[in-house]
């Protein structure tokens, strides 16, 4: 069996193990990342991961000193990383107390300084006989394949712990993320909860370092969470979606990199997560750009149609003698040239609107080269004009707007009036005026 297929079918024990560990980590990071995103501290993970670098170096040096050749003891390195990551976040927190240094500056300072210190330590380690082969740069750029079963069990166990904590403190974290001031006022230990959340972030960062690389591990915290935002507005479903995205991108990344040896797992995992983000950005049910665009297009079409029918009615209105019924509107011809003059619209826009109206059977095109309103068109036109004029009247009577200024405002508002708004306006109108098919335009009609 060829190698890529073997990897994809999970024939290797090692691939299976790595897959399990990474997927669990992805799930965890989705859940914790959502909380951090809601708390508006998305980039704290970045600082934690950069601050973990000197910890790895120090732990390696310490272990190597203690037992030459034993520096690459995974749990030890993780502990070191977690310690300096925590130290870094404490520093950032402390710096925020200086009045002159704002949060983002504190984060950036911590990040760059700890990273610099880490690089200093790493270059020193490079000189050691065991340092070259220690593979510490895997921590920087990530190499999931270098994980062995024992490390993975550690990652899986720790991920389970993180999941359990999130599950147990679901309510508290929700409160913290949405209204920390209310939480504090109701007596919740907000400081401790924040600390715990930061601890979870450090856990995820440190655990993800080996597989994704510390430069990119923040992506696991940010990308799935940001993707989930486009699917739902409720926290718990959002966490589930984020967990799904995180787990899926981690799994796909590991599988792809196992199948294609040149693909580095870390980068592929992040790109998969980015792909998930892109898809959510476009197609997400709540705020996806495609849906937004479709909605906007639909609204634009409806507005255009309303405008066209209203223009038709206003063109025919002078010919509508008081004796004639509104039904006679359907017999009156509308020439293309008149319609072009009726509003400031381009010929192309008018043509497309006319097509739309013909398709919807609001207008018909007769043999004499003129358009005529159909029954449905007449009803819609009257509705559009009513809406426009009722709003104009409302503005004039209740907002004391000058009659000359109301046309433009009504043009913008009429399309947004809901049926119950219309009902209220109708009632208002009927209380003061006799029943007419359409209120008379309160200002000089058809400004030419």
């Amino acid at each position: 069996m060829p190698d890529p297929l073997r990897a994809l079918l999970l024939q290797d024990y090692n691939t299976r193990v790595v897959l399990l560990g990474t997927v669990l980590l992805g799930i965890c990071s989705g859940i914790v990342g959502t909380l951090m995103l809601m708390r508006k501290r998305a980039l704290v993970g970045d600082v934690a991961s950069h601050a973990a670098l000197p910890g790895v170096g120090l732990a390696f040096l310490f272990l190597e000193r203690w037992q030459p050749g034993g520096g690459r003891w995974f749990p030890g390195l993780l502990c070191g990383a977690a310690c300096t990551a925590a130290l870094g976040l404490v520093c950032a927190q402390g710096m925020r107390r200086i009045r002159r240094i704002h949060e983002d500056a504190a984060l950036a300072i911590t990040l760059s300084l700890f990273f610099g210190a880490g690089v200093v330590l790493f270059t020193m380690i490079q000189g050691l006989p065991t340092g070259q082969s220690a593979g510490l740069s895997e921590f920087v750029f990530g190499k999931a394949a270098a994980l062995v079963a024992r490390d993975v069990w550690l990652i899986a166990g720790a991920s389970m712990c993180v999941l359990l904590v999130c599950l147990a403190l679901r309510k508290e974290f929700t409160l913290l993320c949405f209204d920390s001031e209310f939480a504090a006022a109701s007596g919740w230990p907000v400081g401790w909860l924040d600390l715990l959340l930061t601890g979870l972030v450090i856990c995820v960062t440190v655990l993800g370092m080996q597989s994704v690389g510390l430069l990119l591990v923040v992506a696991l915290l940010v990308l799935p969470a940001a993707s989930a935002q486009f699917w739902t507005h409720r926290l718990e479903p959002m966490q589930l979606v984020a967990a799904g995205f995180g787990g899926a991108s981690a799994g796909l990344g590991v599988l792809l990199s196992a199948a294609v040896p040149k693909l580095a797992a870390g980068a592929v995992i992040v790109l998969m997560a980015a792909l998930g983000f892109g898809l959510s950005l476009l197609w997400g049910r709540r705020r996806g750009l495609v849906w937004q665009w479709l909605e906007a297009a639909k609204l634009r079409r409806r507005i255009g149609l309303d405008d066209l029918l209203r223009a038709c009615f206003e063109l025919l209105e002078p010919k509508l003698s008081s004796a004639a019924t509104v039904e006679s509107l359907s017999d009156m011809p509308l020439s293309h040239a008149d319609l072009t003059q009726a509003r400031t619209w381009s010929a192309a826009r008018l043509t497309s609107l006319l097509h739309q109206a013909l398709r919807g059977a609001y207008l018909r095109y007769d043999a004499d080269g003129c358009y005529r309103l159909t029954g449905a068109g007449r009803r819609e036109a009257i509705r559009a004009v009513r809406r426009h004029r009722l709003w104009e009247l409302y503005l004039i009577h209740h907002a004391h707007a000058a009659p000359a200024t109301v046309d433009q405002s009504a043009d913008a508002v009429e399309h947004l009036l809901q049926p119950d708004d219309m009902e209220q306006l109708e009632t208002l109108w009927q209380q003061t005026h006799p029943q007419l098919p359409v209120p008379v335009s309160p200002h000089v009609a058809a400004p030419n």
């Binding site: 995103l37 508006k40 998305a42 980039l43 970045d46 000193r65 710096m95 200086i98 002159r100 240094i101 983002d104 500056a105 984060l107 950036a108 300072i109 990040l111 760059s112 300084l113 990273f115 610099g116 210190a117 880490g118 690089v119 200093v120 790493f122 270059t123 020193m124 380690i125 490079q126 000189g127 050691l128 006989p129 340092g131 740069s137 920087v140 750029f141 430069l215 990119l216 923040v218 992506a219 940010v222 990308l223 969470a225 940001a226 935002q229 486009f230 040149k262 693909l263 580095a264 870390g266 980068a267 592929v268 992040v270 790109l271 997560a273 980015a274 983000f277 950005l281 705020r287 750009l289």
Partner: protein
């Protein structure tokens, strides 16, 4: 070691100092606009641009379109263009995401730069056979080898020229538009109202940051770039309250970090080897050490800055506490005298005072001695009493206290038990003028709401 300082070391320091100063200028404005994380994001997201440009040059050369010499000449401009293009792209993308996707600004930044950095890393892996780009080199820079690449026949390394030009351009742009930049940074709304295109200025600032990052990148690596974009400006804002001062200090700190960083990189390895008795330890990355030196400078500023430093703040706090305690001592003595008729001038046990004010005897003693020096107390053995000067000061304090209580009771209708706590704090901050205004306002009251008499103003 420092003994064998050579021309190489000088060039390294000059390059690093130029790059650091170049970064510090736009960094100051990013810091003041609270966009410091932008530098970090930009320096990550230029990676795919650099790799693509590198690969493009390689391909052109392989395809025979460019001769080796042309490729060599065009490589650096191409890298610059590629990186600048991705920098602008990432800035625009994250802004678009923040707006269209309604994401938190930091999250949008995180999304864009991690994705782009991952793409860059992947490109490097995929193209590893075709090109020799080491991702480590992008991170750590190659300051140690800059002298191998000189300009023409001279000894001047190309990196010095590149970073020097960027520094000159940045300072030139700064001098030309100093007033506009200042206004846009501190009050964008006012700037817009005055007709300065604040948004355009912001975009230009980002573009300048991108160009600086890219230029500094190749020679000094991203670690130094992200450190120098934020650390010197942060020192600057701690040391000075004026924009020109902030800029000056941040340039100074940037160049000092370069010098001391390199010295540290030369000296530290031997020190560490000797201290730990571990001769195998390797040398230290110069760029890394420079950012550590910047960190030391920041720590120094944080502790010792003349106005905003921790030491100064701690001292001010101590002074205030001492003043309050001293005044409380005087007030307590005055009140004891009041309680016992005809007791003015009697000695009081220090222990009673300590109990009344609930402070440790040690702190009390310090304040008693200070009061004695100022001639407001007489101390004999374990007892103390007010001198006439002290009694006047005490009288003013008690007057402030009781006037404030009357004022609160009269205007805010607070219940009697709640008056004391507020007055206990405010009494230390009422100056004579305010005190008399209060008395005027309350029509020179004789008694406070508790019924105690308000002493007349002690003449000084």
């Amino acid at each position: 070691m420092l003994m064998d300082w050579s021309m190489l070391d000088t060039w390294i320091v000059i390059t690093a100092a130029l790059a650091a100063m170049g970064c510090a200028l736009p960094g100051t404005f990013l810091l003041l606009r609270r966009q410091s994380l932008m530098g970090d994001a930009l320096s990550h997201s230029v990676l795919p641009g650099i790799v693509l440009a590198y690969l493009a040059v390689d391909q052109l050369q392989h395809a025979g379109w460019w001769s080796t010499s042309t490729a060599l000449a065009w490589r650096h401009p191409m890298l610059f263009v590629g990186a600048a293009a991705t920098a602008i792209l990432s800035g625009a993308l994250s802004e678009l995401l923040a707006r269209a996707g309604r994401l938190d600004a930091n999250a949008a930044l995180g999304v864009v730069y991690t994705a782009m950095f991952a793409a860059g890393l992947l490109l490097i892996r995929l193209a590893a056979d075709a090109a020799h780009i080491d991702p480590g080199c992008v991170l750590y820079g190659n300051l140690e080898t800059i002298v191998t690449d000189t300009v023409g026949q001279t000894q001047i390394p190309r990196a010095v020229i590149v970073n020097g030009v960027i520094l000159l351009l940045n300072s030139g742009a700064l001098l030309l538009s100093y007033k506009e930049l200042q206004l846009c940074t501190f009050d964008p709304a006012l700037a817009t109202a005055l007709g300065i295109p604040a948004r355009l200025v912001q975009q230009l600032l980002l573009a300048a940051t991108g160009a600086t990052v890219v230029a500094a990148f190749e020679s000094v690596g991203s670690i130094l770039v992200i450190a120098m974009l934020v650390v010197p400006p942060a020192c600057g804002v701690l040391l000075s309250d004026r924009l020109s001062g902030v800029l000056g200090f941040s340039l100074l700190i940037a160049s000092l970090s370069a010098v001391f960083g390199h010295v540290g990189a030369l000296v530290m390895p031997d020190v560490v080897r000797w201290t730990l008795a571990w001769p195998e330890l390797g040398d230290i990355s110069t760029a890394g050490m420079m950012s550590v030196a910047g960190g030391a400078a920041f720590l120094g500023c944080w502790l010792l800055a003349p106005r905003h430093g921790l030491v100064r703040q701690w001292r001010d706090h101590q002074r205030l506490q001492r003043r309050i305690l001293s005044e409380d001592i005087l007030g307590a003595l005055y009140r004891i005298e009041e309680l016992v008729p005809n007791a003015a001038g009697e000695l009081r046990a220090k222990a009673d005072l300590a109990a009344a004010l609930s402070v440790s005897p040690g702190r009390l003693e310090v304040c008693l001695q200070r009061l004695k020096q100022r001639g407001e107390l007489e101390i004999s053995g374990a007892t103390a009493r007010l001198t006439p000067t002290g009694r006047q000061a005490a009288q003013n304090l008690v007057r402030s206290h009781r006037l404030w209580e009357s004022y609160l009771a009269h205007h805010f209708h607070l219940e009697l038990p709640r008056l004391h706590a507020s007055a206990e704090q405010v009494e230390h901050f009422l100056d004579p003028q305010l005190r008399e205004e209060l008395a005027e306002e309350l029509q020179q009251p004789g008694r406070d709401p508790h019924g105690s008499s308000i002493p007349p103003s002690g003449s000084t």
